[in-house]
């Protein structure tokens, strides 16, 4: 068992003044060079010795990289370096994406969220990333930049495995874009930790629902899960079931079963796979019932 170092190992620190500057310095080796946002994952991993970069490029001070912009026609754009607290206290985010605010509020502690960024949360690609399920059901897209240029990607296509993303060496995440949320939507993020605050998720479930006359049920739903598979995942089959059948306790429980069957959790110090699977069912049903109630109250 290798213990973490008593102190953070030495590294060269580069204060990037622009995305271009950062990208030029970044080069292609992520073993040697890493980008730094809040450092709340990076420093933990460096102390643990699981990564050993010798150079860190700080993105936090790049002008524009931490901006949060809302446009009534196109939606929300979050700079990759915006801290979770900055996002959560933005009035437009609070008014238009309360689901995201609730999800961010489940991360660690207020103090930590003063530093932690959504960009870092996504790029770290933990299966337990708490911002991911909500961003998934909100249909987020990512802007990735490299010296060669810029590309866009659906968040759904970004996660490749624990700690693995679609980022190629030399590429950074600059923006997270959320389309306008559907009219009349309601959402719920349920996170189960061992204790109430500060724990990583045993299971996280985000549900978003909105009225739509087209499907049988009169509603559309989106469901995403954290911490029960190698990456955060959407549960398309369950979403479909809820649209094609009349909404009832039975259909909700059936949808929750589908989510449970799709989950491929592991056993670890936090929980057994058995409990995680059960919790996918319970929390999905719980979140769906809450959302249904909110939708019905509105109707």
């Amino acid at each position: 068992m290798e213990l973490p170092l008593p102190e953070l190992p030495a590294f060269d620190y580069l204060h990037a003044s622009s995305a271009q500057h950062a990208l030029e310095q970044l080069g292609g080796s992520i073993a040697r060079t890493r980008v730094l946002s809040g450092g709340t994952d990076l420093f933990v991993q460096m102390r643990a010795g699981s990564i050993a970069p010798t150079e860190l490029i700080d993105l936090k001070h790049i002008p524009g990289l931490a901006t949060i912009e809302f446009d009534e026609n196109s939606g929300l754009t979050i700079g990759a370096a915006a801290t979770m607290n900055a996002v959560a206290r933005d009035p437009e985010v609070q008014a238009n994406y309360p689901l995201l605010v609730r999800a961010l509020e489940t991360v660690a502690s207020y103090q930590l969220r003063n530093r932690a960024t959504i960009g870092g949360n996504l790029c770290n690609a933990s299966p337990a990333a708490d911002s991911a399920p909500s961003l998934l059901v909100l249909g987020s897209r990512l802007t990735l930049e490299s010296v060669g240029g810029q590309r866009e990607l659906a968040l759904n296509d970004f996660f490749k495995g624990p700690g693995e993303t679609a980022l190629t060496p030399g590429e950074i995440l600059t923006k997270i874009s959320l389309p306008l949320a559907p009219t009349g939507w309601k959402g719920r993020y349920l996170k189960l930790g061992r204790n109430t605050s500060g724990d990583l998720a045993i299971v996280g479930v985000a549900v978003l629902g909105f009225p739509d006359p087209e499907p049988t049920s009169g509603f559309r739903f989106r469901i995403a899960l954290a911490s029960v598979a190698p990456t955060p995942i959407r549960v398309a089959d369950a979403e479909e079931l809820l649209e094609t059948t009349t909404l009832s306790d039975e259909s909700i429980e059936q949808a929750a079963r589908i989510a449970q069957d799709l989950a491929r959790p592991i056993s670890d110090a936090r929980a057994s796979a058995e409990y995680r699977r059960a919790m996918v069912f319970e929390l999905t049903a719980w979140a769906l019932k809450d959302v249904r109630q909110m939708l019905e109250e509105e109707a």
Binding site: P6, R194, T196
Partner: protein, 784 residues
């Protein structure tokens, strides 16, 4: 001379909720802790190479690469210090010499100019091990074929009340044989037998261990450490280094939480041995948070097998218990925890027939040390659940069952000791009433099930019969007092309580009293240790004796001066007064300069210096075969907690609405501090009940960090904690006081388990009562 105005006398500060005298310093960050002390440019840093194996023989060591690293000043190994030490059983070396016995066992120490270089050098040390089978279960450790941890147990020096069994892994076996258990079962209407498990947990003080050691040119050692027991540490270091106590000086500034982990010797020993090789240089050793989880002390795990029988009237007739303590690689305090568990094995119940076997068992786990409650939270986990089950089977109310069976003053307890007066029944009644016992209250949602649970407890200070305390009280010119003690302020408020006692005896305001800090074995009077909830009582007695000594000297001086009978004199409001002549003299100056004789004939008196010590003289030994004796302990503090909670059936999560916590403290010298102990105890108790465990896989810790070792945060604690103070005085306590520092976490876990069981029908036998366990057990019940 002024008139005596008796009515304006300040009331005695004893019994008042006086503000903590260290509050301002601590709240502002001004209070110095060990890591804050400055040592100048000579300071070096030590890091330790630790065993990666739970059990292995050291075949060879190569430190040459480490020693050659620039910045490294010294490398030490087991060869640098070859005497065994231990509080009750001398079973360890500071650095391993032959074998390693747990993951984290110190093998090599490196001294360097920075922590980082020391750590780098540690990683260059090459150790060749022959890996041995580990012992990871305290019951299987007793199997005939089990690997032996200590082959030379027979050679170890041991205290006379500890009974190791050479050739086995048993470090101590304590027995109780009282009445006739075998024949008692026949008279029982109900017999319940269960097995309970308690995991290894850690104290998680906010301040990890910090120790700085220096060998000076005269060959003496100074150790600055975050310590609950500076004098015990001095003793242990003397043993390990084969020096005498006076060759070692331990200076202990404020402690950022100890809960037992900073008693005895752990990281401090490694600092001292490293300092040996760099005379004139202080060497600082700090445990990282991760090391803190398994390299210092942990709370021992426990497997408890218990059988209890009661007759149809609900009287408990017999109890048979086996305790298997998961002591870890070395025992330090563990052997005495096993002993305390044995002589307290019935809980505070009147049981005529008792058989108990408490085994302290070596395992290849982290070293079990003392932790708040010293074995009592562990044993009550089983005792208080099995009592609940017995009551259920008898179809008796659980409060009524306990009231019927708990001990009263004057009755014989498990070791044959006659109980002093106790207020346990009053505690039970008050705690139950405080949470509306017997009244069903609605849960917060249709998915939740709400109910109530109760548990009682007792605990005695577990210590050698002759653990002593001493104190001095020095008067200053301005009539303020400097009090020196060797007990430590570890957040429990002891310095404040001592100041209150001195002020009470000397008739001065509390803020005239200062406590000499830091505790320094060179200047502070002897104190056995700051453990066992013994300071208010034991150190309090010494402090009161010292203050009375000073008081007597002052009164004698005034009596001679006024030519009056000392009987008529008193100290009030900072003055000596005479109730007869109504003469008054302020204490200022006279307590140092004395008073002039009449007619310019000279002076009498002089600097007032009071001293006092205390040691209980009446604790007797217990019979080896039966565990019976006249007086096993100094006293028991008893109490009760009642819990009102609900369980969310969707997740198994527990939400505690309120916990009432009632303890008989004899006399609350400072009621607010007593209540603070009850609140802290409930929080720590609830945290260990719901979350805490050091997970190991084949002896290797799996969650040695806050990421996966969860403790309760402010949002996890009960919505309401109701402290209830009961005061049935202790005959030899200051103002009747007895200790209450550890007690409020003892009944918390079983009370919660009992409430969970009442709410869900599911009983959890192995701590912690995690949401996962409750949920999965409920699933099992549902599916039949």
């Amino acid at each position: 001379m002024t008139e005596v105005e008796r009515t304006v006398s300040a009331p005695s500060p004893v019994g008042e909720s006086v503000k903590r005298i260290d509050a301002f310093e601590k709240a502002t960050g001004a209070a110095p802790f060990a890591d804050d002390l400055q040592f100048g440019p000579n300071l070096l840093y030590g890091r330790v190479v630790r065993s990666p194996h739970p059990h292995a023989r050291i075949l060879s060591l190569d430190v040459s690469k480490a020693a050659a690293l620039p910045g490294v000043r010294a490398v030490v190994t087991g060869d640098n210090c070859d005497a065994r030490f231990g509080l009750y059983l001398r079973d360890r070396y500071i650095f391993c010499r032959d074998k390693v016995r747990f993951v984290g066992d110190p093998v090599v120490g490196v001294v360097a100019i920075s922590e980082t270089i020391a750590e780098q050098a540690c990683r260059l040390v090459e150790v060749e091990y022959e890996v041995l089978d580990p012992v990871v279960d305290p019951v299987r450790a007793l199997d005939p074929g089990a690997p032996l941890l200590h082959e030379n147990l027979a050679d170890y020096e041991v205290a006379d009340f500890i009974d190791p069994k050479p050739g086995t892994n048993i470090a101590n076996h304590f027995k109780v044989r009282k009445g006739n258990v075998a024949s008692a079962w026949d008279e029982c209407e109900v017999i319940v037998e269960r097995e309970f498990r308690v995991p290894i947990i850690q104290h998680v003080p906010i301040e990890p261990h910090v120790a700085v050691a220096e060998l000076d040119r005269s060959g003496r050692y100074t150790l600055w450490s975050s310590s609950q027991s500076p004098f015990a540490q001095r003793n242990l270091i003397a043993q390990a280094l084969e020096l005498s106590q006076s060759d070692i000086r331990v200076i202990a500034p404020y402690v950022g939480g100890g809960f037992g982990s900073k008693a005895g010797l752990s990281a401090e020993g490694t600092a001292v041995v490293m300092a040996m090789s760099v005379p004139g240089h202080p060497v600082k050793v700090r445990l990282t948070r991760e090391e803190e989880f398994f390299c210092a002390f942990v709370r021992q795990g426990l497997v408890a097998k218990t059988r209890v029988g009661a007759n149809a009237q609900g009287e408990i007739l017999a109890m048979k218990t086996e305790y298997y303590w998961d002591a870890g690689a070395y025992t330090e305090y563990g052997v005495n925890i096993a002993r305390a568990a044995g002589y307290s094995s019935t809980g505070p119940y009147r049981i005529p027939n008792v058989e108990a076997d408490s085994y302290c068992v070596y395992t290849n786990h982290p070293v079990g040390g003392p932790m708040r409650g010293f074995g009592m939270p562990e044993i009550h986990w089983g005792i208080e659940q099995i009592m609940d089950i017995v009551a259920e089977e008898l179809e008796m109310d659980k409060v009524e069952f306990r009231l019927k069976n708990v001990l009263h003053g004057g009755e014989q307890n498990v070791t044959g000791m006659v109980m002093h007066p106790i207020g346990l029944s009053e505690c039970i009644e008050k705690a139950a009433r405080a949470i509306n016992w017997g009244v069903d209250e609605p849960p917060s949602s249709p998915y939740a099930r709400r109910s109530k649970g109760i548990a009682v407890s007792w605990k005695a200070p577990a210590m050698p019969p002759n653990a002593g305390s001493s104190a001095t009280v020095r008067m200053n010119e301005d009539a303020t007092v400097t009090v020196a003690v060797g007990g430590q302020e570890i957040g429990q408020g002891t310095f404040t309580v001592m100041a209150q006692m001195v002020a009470g005896v000397l008739g001065i305001p509390v803020d005239w009293v200062q406590i000499s800090t830091p505790v320094d074995t060179k200047y502070s009077p002897y104190e056995w240790q700051t453990v066992a909830s013994r300071l208010t009582w034991s150190m309090g007695n010494a402090v009161v004796a010292a203050a009375q000594d000073a008081r007597r000297q002052i009164l004698e001086l005034a009596a001679e001066h006024w030519n009056e009978d000392i009987e008529h004199l008193d100290l009030r409001d900072g003055q000596v007064i005479s109730y007869r002549s109504e003469e008054v003299l302020p204490l200022q100056n006279l307590v140092v300069y004395g008073l002039p004789l009449p007619d310019d004939q000279g002076w009498r008196g002089g600097p007032i210096l009071g001293q006092g010590s205390f040691m209980p003289g009446y604790v007797t030994s217990l019979d080896n075969e039966t565990g019976q004796g006249t007086r096993a302990v100094v006293h028991y503090t008893t109490g009760c907690q009642a819990v009102d909670l609900e369980v969310d059936t969707r997740t198994g999560k527990v939400k505690i609405h309120r916990i009432a916590s009632a303890f008989d403290v004899g006399k609350a010298i400072n009621p607010e501090q007593v209540e603070a102990q009850m609140q802290g105890g409930v929080v720590q108790g609830a945290s260990t009940a719901l979350f805490e465990q050091l997970i190991r896989h084949n002896g290797v810790p799996q969650n040695a960090s806050f990421t996966d070792y969860r403790i309760a945060t402010s949002v996890d604690i009960p919505d309401e904690i109701i402290p209830i103070i009961v005061e049935v005085p202790q005959d030899d306590g200051p103002w009747g006081a007895r200790g209450v520092g550890e007690h409020p976490m003892i009944p918390t876990a079983p009370a919660i388990a009992n409430a969970v069981s009442a709410a869900t029908g599911v009983r959890i036998f192995d701590l912690p009562i995690s949401a996962e366990k409750i949920y999965l057990e409920m699933q099992k019940e549902r599916s039949g």
